[in-house]
């Protein structure tokens, strides 16, 4: 049996108060799992644990069967090259053009000549339905919210990662752009065969997109299962959460 792509084992973490308490979640290769929950429940913290930007107080975080907290800084950098991260506000480098943003990881880690690099950037932009000829030379400040988000996705996939992490990918977007981004998440999972972990508070969008849903409440998962199972769940908090959505 192959190991899960992402495996959180009895993870606990506290800052000035407990954030995660004995949380376990395994995401198998190629699966899309959405972590839902109220604001401030530690959803984004999970992504930071997977990336090794935070270390758990207890438990283990394993990515592709390797313990992330046990890695050295250079091993963590190596790990992150295989993971794409899409930030809530895109976090594009505002002094760099769209082209340079998307090319960032390729320039850092791969000795590509300028022609191959341009091809890879165009390919990544095409995957998120952006015309390289039109947007490549623009600065992030010249883009709309939806375009920024898509450039953020293009930057995350340019290095062809095996795992994609999304932090609130639809936050602050209008309904039509939200739909585009949700379709994009599903399409990338399908076409690139990536494992996706999506942190969101957009219940309806995630029920349509994710293979499984994990609902975080007071530092623990109140529910983990398929969207249909969530709709039919008797678990009190899950019912309350779905009713509020």
């Amino acid at each position: 049996m192959t190991a899960p792509a992402i495996d959180l084992r009895d993870v606990s973490l506290a800052f000035d108060r407990p954030v995660l308490r004995d949380v376990s979640l395994a995401v198998v290769t190629g699966e899309t799992v959405a972590v839902l929950g109220e604001s401030g429940t530690g959803k984004s913290t999970l992504l930071r644990l997977v990336l090794g930007l935070l270390a758990p107080d207890a438990g283990d975080v394993r990515v592709q069967d390797r313990s992330v907290p046990a890695m050295t800084p250079s091993e963590k950098r190596e790990l992150r090259r295989g993971i794409g991260m899409v930030f809530q506000q895109a976090a594009l480098f505002d002094s760099l053009t769209v082209f340079e943003n998307v090319a960032f990881a390729l320039r850092e880690h791969r000795a590509l000549d300028e022609r191959d690099l341009t091809h890879r950037v165009q390919e990544a932009l095409a995957l998120v339905d952006l015309d390289a000829a039109r947007v490549a030379s623009l600065l992030p400040a010249q883009l709309s919210g939806g375009m920024r988000k898509r450039v953020g996705v293009a930057r995350a996939i340019a290095n062809r990662p095996a795992i994609l992490l999304y932090d609130e990918p639809t936050a602050g977007l209008d309904p039509l752009t939200t739909e585009t981004v949700v379709e994009l998440i599903a399409r990338l999972a399908r076409e690139l065969h990536v494992t996706s972990l999506v942190v969101s508070h957009d219940v309806r969008a995630m029920l349509r997109t994710a293979d499984r849903i994990a609902l975080l409440h007071e530092g623990r998962f109140a529910f983990i299962g398929a969207p249909d199972a969530m709709r039919g769940s008797d678990e009190p908090y899950t019912r309350t959460f779905l009713a509020a959505a």
């Binding site: 990336l51 930007l53 992150r80 506000q89 594009l92 990881a105």
Partner: protein
């Protein structure tokens, strides 16, 4: 008081760790040369007008003050000695350091702080790159190169300003002024037959100041939290701490260098 001391010690520890990480990635990696050149422009070339102006007027004031002190003894001919010793050893390095801390330190803290609160620093890390190598190293190396050169140019501007004031107000010819300045430099000692001791102090100090002020600015910027207000706090802390550290470091460096050269 106890919390303040604790906070200062923690900052010191963080800055030392940042310095160590910067030292380990000093080569800058791929694209490091371009990043260094860009920072040399921002820290060095763009600071030139403000540093020259500071040096010029400091030299002019020194000449006036020297005349007040020396005139009762009929020694205004020695004004060049007074200005040269003050500018080369102390005022050139310290004032250049403080001016760069104000202009560049604030800019670095604001830029890195904005990058931190908009998750751009996290983005660098998640893309498998090292923010210290990309953001800190080019700034520290550029300051270590640029601040000594700026201090040297501030010295020259100060001496030129003092020359003009000496000639126009004190009746000391430019040639006499520069002769006195050269005598002072020789009197302070020449190392290995070629290197004036004044110049060694005047270059070693701003080299250290440049490293300290950029490390502090980078540390405060990268530690910014809490949105735009946090960036403002980081910027203020960067300038205040760098200015204080430059003055404190100046004392210890002076004591050290006086013992060595």
């Amino acid at each position: 008081m106890r919390r303040t001391i604790q906070s200062v010690l923690l900052t010191l520890q963080d800055v030392v760790i940042l310095g160590w990480r910067a030292l380990r990635g000093w080569h800058g990696g791929r694209g490091g040369g371009a990043r260094l050149l860009a920072q040399l422009d921002v820290i060095g070339v763009q600071s030139l007008p403000i540093v020259l102006l500071t040096g010029l007027f400091t030299g002019m004031v020194l000449a006036l003050q020297a005349s007040v002190q020396l005139a009762p003894f009929g020694a205004t001919l020695f004004v060049g000695r007074f200005v040269a010793a003050s500018m080369l050893r102390e005022l050139g390095p310290v004032l250049s350091g403080i001016m760069v801390a104000g202009r560049v330190g604030a800019g670095i803290a604001a830029e890195l702080g904005a990058m931190r609160v908009t998750e751009q620093v996290d983005a660098i890390e998640t893309l498998g790159a090292d923010p210290v190598r990309l953001l800190v190293v080019p700034r520290v190396v550029a300051a270590a190169i640029a601040v000594p050169l700026l201090a040297l140019l501030a010295d020259v501007a100060g001496l030129l300003g003092a020359t003009v004031i000496s000639a126009a107000w004190l009746g000391v010819p430019a040639r006499t002024f520069w002769q006195a300045a050269a005598d002072q430099v020789r009197a302070d000692g020449i190392l290995w037959g070629v290197l004036p001791a004044d110049l060694v102090q005047g270059l070693v100090k701003p080299f250290v100041f440049g490293i300290l002020l950029t490390l502090l600015a980078c540390h405060h910027g990268l530690s910014a939290t809490g949105g735009t207000a946090g960036v403002g706090v980081a910027t203020t802390r960067a300038v205040v701490s760098a200015s204080i550290v430059i003055l404190v470091a100046d004392y210890f460096l002076t004591q050290l260098l006086l013992g060595l050269v």
